[in-house]
Amino acid sequence: MNPLQAHELVIDIPGRSDGQPLNFTVEPGQVWGVLGPNGAGKTTLVHTLAGLLAPRHGTVRLGDQPLNGLRRRSISRQLGLVFQDRQDGFPATVLETALIGRHPWLSPWQMESGKDEHLARQALEKLDVGHLSHRLVNTLSGGERQRVAIATVMTQAPDTWLLDEPTNHLDLHHQVSVLELLTDQARDGRSVFMCLHDLNLAARWCDHLLLLYPNGDACWGPAERMLVPSALERLYGQKLITVEADGAPVFVPVKS
């Protein structure tokens, strides 16, 4: 697979100075988490890495190819993106929604085959929404829709997963099963890069972290080096208590 690489990357957030250019590579097998307060640019970063937004400076590369020199179709065969919010103008069923993940793999004249449908159903089963396959997406709960969106990217089967708040709307059990599923993907040689709100989920499941500060500063590296209480307190502007549970640090906000 072609690893996703940010080279001297400055994301374009209107009215913000350049800050620290980003230089990192998401290698196969790695699970990256992006942490930062509201408005720090997490979504902008993920969209820029997917090639949906132009960076202010620098380049994003897939392997040795710059993203903006690749066709969208070939990008989407290697890179899948779970959006934070979804719009559905027209009603569609859950199965139809998962099936659009096959789009980059089919030629214009091809119809979805039984094999494509099988992949979609498998993905829906994996995310525990297989029983909903004939329901209309707009009648589902927020958490169910979130899992359908993840199943769509699973059907797309990219080498690199980009996810914007994948645990949004999910109950505790499904948060854990989605993160397990993503770490499984990494174990199979793919890579995962996601924004997370929950510091403790990130500490538990990510092996690399990128801290994004509202002023454009950033630092990144292996998770154990990044989980420094003082840095995290500065990141969120919130005092934290650190405790250890099950071999991993747990951060609890201090009551004011």
């Binding site: 090639g51 969208r72 179709r73 899948g80 979804r86 103008g89 929604t97």
Partner: protein, 323 residues
Amino acid sequence: MSRPLLKPLLVLALASLIAMLLSVGTGSVSVAPGQVLAVLLGDGSNLQQTLVLELRLPRTLSAFATGGLLAVAGALMQVLLRNPLADPYVLGLSGGAAVGALLAMLAGLGGLIVSGSAFAGAMLATLMVFGLAHGTGSWTPSRLLLTGVVVAAGWGAVITLMLAISPAQRLPGMLYWLMGDVSYARSPWPALVLLFLVCLLVLPLGRSLNVLARGPMQAAALGVAVRPLEWTIYILASLLTATAVTMAGSIGFVGLVVPHMLRLVLGNDQRLILPACALAGGTLLVLADTLARVVIAPEQLPVGVITALLGVPTFLYLLYRSR
């Protein structure tokens, strides 16, 4: 093409054939469906030959082509704007065409010049709406729709102004054009060929359109080159509308009602919906035109009145029932 797509299309194709036979057979002199077929195969009396081949068939085919073009244009605009309210009429394309046509009529010109002027008006309206909606930022569907609605209102004012100042003897022709009238149509073949070509073209584009209906960002993430696709759809829809309006004046509601009704029944796969729109839109207008010819025979009603009278209650009923 796979089976689930083929069946509804065959049913619709059969329905449109029956509607056309009915339409060709109905009028001041009725011709039975069997005789219509015989005439089409080269038999029948001279009178029947003239009646069917020279008078009724071209008009029926024109009605079919116009309805099909309008319905496909409406369906394309709805995907483009991700808004089920979009249609060439709402977006001011028909208004632009009407102003073009009325200008030519006001100048005392007729025939081909009225058509050409209508076509130019529709294309100008297209450019205006998209140019203005683009502005300095990006296209957003709501901005495009709003721009279209406001521009349409502007065209409406210009039309009223022109009607108010035009000499009395020109008024009936102008009003008939505004209400839509298939009897103006010349040869149906260019429009039919265009309709067929567009249906062929949207088949390979269909899946991309399905993805685009989920929003441009999602579509781009799934490998669709969004901007070129959006331009293609808009240019196609404008071309279809301009051709339809040029043939038969401004006929409302076909572009709005037909795609909407088909979506309620057939789901939202554009590979099915777009060809189905061509067939169902054509069938609807053929039937409406037949009604327009017989309701107050020997006088004729403008077909736009029929489509509106049928379309408005149907649409409201469907809307009422759907939630």
